[in-house]
Symmetry: C2
Subunit: 459 residues, 2 copies
C-alpha cells in the first residue's frame, strides 16, 4: 500500500492534499536562503488520533514528516523535504479550557496566538508571548521555536509559559509530560526539551499554558540619541537600576530613516538611535519619568513621554513598521536574531554597522534592547548574484560577532536549516554530540523534521 | 590500582575521606524511610578538573558516584549507595560574578543559598528561590531538586533562574549548556533537563543564575478561618482576582496548635485554618486591604494586617515554626510534597485529614497554598512498628490522593528514592520509558546517583 492509501485508512479525504501545485504552496516558511523540497502529501489532521495515525504510517513506511503551523518562521524550520508528509496542525485550533483560578489555558497547537490572547483577555488574563507575527502564528509554532516578542524583557519567552504537553512520538505513541499545577518536579523536564525543538523530537498536540493576570495598559516613551553607544548606555542604566519595563526597543538610524520614508512620521533624520520604553506598572508615568532622566543623563537629545495609551501606540508605531519599511529598500531581506549580553549591545550594533559598510549593504537593526536581542535586517537583491553573496556573508559575520561577544546565534527565531552549521559552532563538539544523542532517543529513524536544528548522527 | 589510589593521582590527600566513621556521616540526607549504603570514599573537590578526575576514575573503575550538597534534601536523593564515591561539592563555594546590568550571578555549586541571596542583595538584586533550609542548602542542591520555597507563588522555582550550566558528564567530559544572555533558543534545552535531575545526569560545576531587582520589603496579613474549605476558597478568589502575592501560605489546625504549644503565640485554638498573605508590591497596604476583604467574604473570622515589616515578620513566625513545632509531637516526621491544582486544595487538605483519622495518626499540613503545594507532615514513632507502618501507608495514600486530584507527587522536594515507585505511576509507561532512555544517553553505565529518580533500564 502506498503512502496516501495508508494515510486514507484513518484520515478523511479532505484532510490529505496531494495536488503538487497545492502541496508546493506548503514548502516554505518565511526564511530567505533556505532550501525546501517537494512534499509527497500535506495532511491536515483534526484529532490526536489522526496525528498518531500519520506518525505510525510514517514510521511504517519510513517517510519523513515536517510539522507546520502558520509557516511564519524565519529559519526554514518548517520547510518541506523531498517526499515528506507535511503535517499541518492548523486545523487543530481549539482553545479547550481557560481557567482563571489555575491561571492556565489548555489549547490545541493550531490556535493562533492573537486568538488565544484575545480569549484570555476576556477573562482578565494575559498570555504574554507576542511574536510580531502574532496575528498569524500558532501556539504550536511558538512552542516549536520558543518564540519571543516585544514583551520578553519583562515577561520572558514562550518557554516560560509551557507547563505541560501532550506529544505524539515518532512511532505514534502519545506522551504526556509536565503538569497543570503551578509547581512540579517529578522526573526529568521533558516539557522544556520539546519547547524550541522545532518539531524534531515529537508532534505537540495539546499544551497547558500558564497565564498572568492582565496588567494595566502600558504607557510608552521615545528618546532620541546622537549615537548608538549613548542609547545602549541608557539601556544598561535602565536595567541596572532595577526598572521593569514591559518593552525596551532600539532602532538604528537606517531603521528610523526607512520608517520616515515609508510613513512620513517626522522622526528627525539626524537621530542615530531611537529608544522606546514602555511600562505596564501601577504608576507608569512615574516610571517613565525616572527612565527619561536616565536617558537624558546618557545623552538623549529629545525625550517624548506619552500621556495616554493612544499616544503610546503612536510612539510604538515606528517600531512596528520597521520591518515592512526596511523591506521596501531592496527586493529581499534576511533577518538575523543574535542575542548578546546587554553590556555588549553597543559593540554588537556598531560591529553590525561596520559589517554593512564593509560589504556595501543596507543593514537596518532593530533590537529588543532590554534583552540584548538584535534583529539585523540585511536588505539585498537576490537577482544580483554578488549582492546576494555579500548578504549571506554579512549574515554569517553578524553571527560570528555575536558569538565573539558572548552571545547566541538565535535569541528567539530558532535554528531551522538557516543556522544549523552555526549551532554546532555555538554548542561545541560535546554539546553537539549530546544533542544528537537526545534526538536519537526520540527519533531513532530520523523521520521527524530531518535536516533541521542538527544533522542527525550517523547510524 | 584501587579506587583511592586512583583518586589520589589528581586529588590532594585532604580531599579524600575514607575513615568509615567519617564517611558514614555522609550517608544520608534528611529524608525518613530511605535506605542508604556505605560509601567507599567521600571526595571534596575544589576545582572542575578535580570533578572531571573523579568522574573519569569512576567510569574507568565502574564505581557509582553520589553527588551531594548540604544534604538537606527530603527524598533521599543524596543518600549513599554501597561502595560509591560520595562527591560532595560543598568546597566549590565561590560566587564568581554578580552583574547588575546582565542581572546574573555566576556561582559554583557549593555556594549556600543564603550567602548568595545576601551577596546579591548588597547590589540591589534578588535571588528569589528560598527553600526553608536556605541557610544551609547549596545552589547545586537547589538545582538538583529544582527547589521551591515560600516565594514561588510570585517568583517561581529554582528552574526559572538557571540560565546556563557547566556540567561534568559521567565520563569526565565538560559540557557547557545554556547561556548568559537574557534570551536564547539555540538547540535543545539541556539546561532545564539537568535542573531537577538530582545528579543523575551529570555533575553541575558552575551555574549562571538569573537575578531580579530587589523588590520593596514585604507586608503581611494573617486571616483566621472556621474551616479549611473557607480558607481555600479565599486562596482561589485571591488568585482568580489577579492578585500577585509574594507569599500565600496556609496552616491547618494541627499546625496552629503545635506552634501554640511550642511558642505560646496566642493563636486561637479554635482556628481551623490560618492563612498568611504577603505583598512586596509598591503599595502593599492597598493590596492587603483588598485581600483582607476577599478573606472576610470567604468567611474569615479575624483578619490581621501588619503595618510594618517588623510586624509582618511576627505574623510569619508561626509559619516558619511549623515544622519544628510538628517535630516535637512525635519522635519522627515524614514530610510529603504533593502539589494539586489550586481549585483542588480544599479536597486535598480535607482528604489528608481523613487519612490521618483513618490511621489514627497526627498529620499536620502547611501549604504553599497559592501554588496548591501541600506539605503534609506525618508525625510518628519509628520504634512503634505498627505506627511506622501506618505512617508509611498514609504517606502513600496522600500521594495517591494528589494524583487522583490531577496533581503531582512532588512540587519541590524531588523524587529521590522515597518516591521512585510513585514517579512511574505519575509518568505512565511511555513517559517512564522515555525518561529511562534519556538517562541512558547521559549515563550509559548507570554510575550517576544510581537508584534515584528512576530505576535504570536493563542493559
Amino acid at each position: 500500500m502506498d503512502l496516501v492509501a495508508h494515510l486514507r485508512t484513518a484520515l478523511p479525504l479532505e484532510a490529505i492534499l496531494t495536488d503538487p501545485a497545492v502541496t508546493a504552496s506548503y514548502a516554505n516558511d518565511m526564511a530567505s536562503f533556505c532550501e525546501a523540497g517537494a512534499p509527497a502529501a500535506v495532511v491536515l489532521p483534526r484529532t490526536v488520533e489522526q496525528v498518531q495515525h500519520v506518525m505510525r504510517t510514517a514510521t511504517a513506511l519510513r517517510v519523513p514528516v515536517v510539522p507546520q503551523g502558520a509557516r511564519t518562521g524565519l529559519s526554514g524550520g518548517a520547510n518541506a523535504v523531498d517526499g515528506c508528509v507535511v503535517l499541518s496542525l492548523v486545523k487543530m485550533d481549539r482553545v479547550l479550557e481557560i481557567d482563571p483560578v489555575e491561571r492556565i489555558a489548555v489549547v490545541e497547537p493550531g490556535v493562533v496566538n492573537a486568538d488565544l490572547s484575545r480569549a484570555v483577555a476576556e477573562q482578565g488574563l494575559y498570555y504574554p508571548p507576542d511574536p510580531s507575527s502574532w496575528e498569524q502564528c500558532t501556539i504550536g509554532g511558538n512552542i516549536g521555536t520558543a518564540s519571543g516578542g516585544l514583551c520578553c524583557v519583562k515577561y520572558g519567552v514562550t518557554a516560560e509559559y509551557v507547563l505541560g504537553l501532550d506529544v505524539v512520538l515518532a512511532d505514534g505513541r502519545l506522551l504526556r509530560c509536565g503538569r497543570r499545577t503551578a509547581k512540579g518536579v517529578a522526573g526529568y523536564d521533558l516539557t522544556r526539551l520539546f519547547v524550541g525543538s522545532e518539531g524534531s523530537l515529537g508532534i505537540v498536540v495539546r499544551a497547558v499554558l500558564a497565564l498572568k493576570p492582565a496588567p494595566p495598559q502600558q504607557l510608552a516613551l521615545a528618546a532620541e540619541f546622537p549615537s548608538v553607544a549613548a542609547a545602549c548606555e541608557a539601556v544598561c542604566e535602565i536595567m541596572a537600576r532595577g526598572h521593569a519595563p514591559a518593552l525596551l526597543e532600539l532602532m538604528d538610524s537606517t531603521s528610523v530613516r526607512a520608517v520616515n520614508s515609508m510613513a512620513n512620521m517626522g522622526l528627525p533624520e539626524s537621530t542615530a538611535a531611537l529608544l522606546l520604553v514602555a511600562f505596564d506598572t501601577p504608576e507608569p508615568a512615574r516610571d517613565l519619568a525616572a527612565v527619561g532622566e536616565l536617558a537624558r543623563a546618557a545623552g538623549a537629545t529629545e525625550v517624548v513621554p506619552a500621556d495616554t495609551p493612544a499616544e503610546s501606540e503612536l510612539l510604538l508605531r515606528a517600531r512596528r513598521m520597521t520591518l515592512p519599511a526596511l523591506e521596501r529598500l531592496r527586493p529581499a531581506t534576511m533577518i538575523d536574531d543574535v542575542c548578546v549580553p546587554r553590556g555588549k549591545l553597543a559593540a554588537m550594533m556598531e560591529g553590525t554597522a561596520a559589517i554593512a559598510d564593509k560589504h556595501g549593504l543596507v543593514i537596518g537593526v532593530c533590537a529588543h534592547a532590554g534583552d540584548g536581542n538584535t534583529h539585523p535586517v540585511v536588505c539585498f537583491d537576490p537577482a544580483d548574484e554578488d549582492e546576494a553573496r555579500r548578504a549571506r556573508e554579512s549574515f554569517d559575520e553578524i553571527m560570528a560577532l555575536g558569538l565573539e561577544l558572548g552571545g547566541t546565534i538565535t535569541g528567539e527565531h530558532g535554528v531551522g536549516v538557516l543556522k544549523k552549521q552555526w549551532l554546532e559552532r555555538e554548542l561545541g563538539p560535546v554539546g553537539t554530540e549530546i544533542q544528537q544523542a537526545v534526538k536519537a532517543v526520540f527519533d531513532p529513524l530520523g523521520l521527524l523534521n530531518p535536516g533541521k536544528v542538527l544533522d542527525t548522527r550517523g547510524a
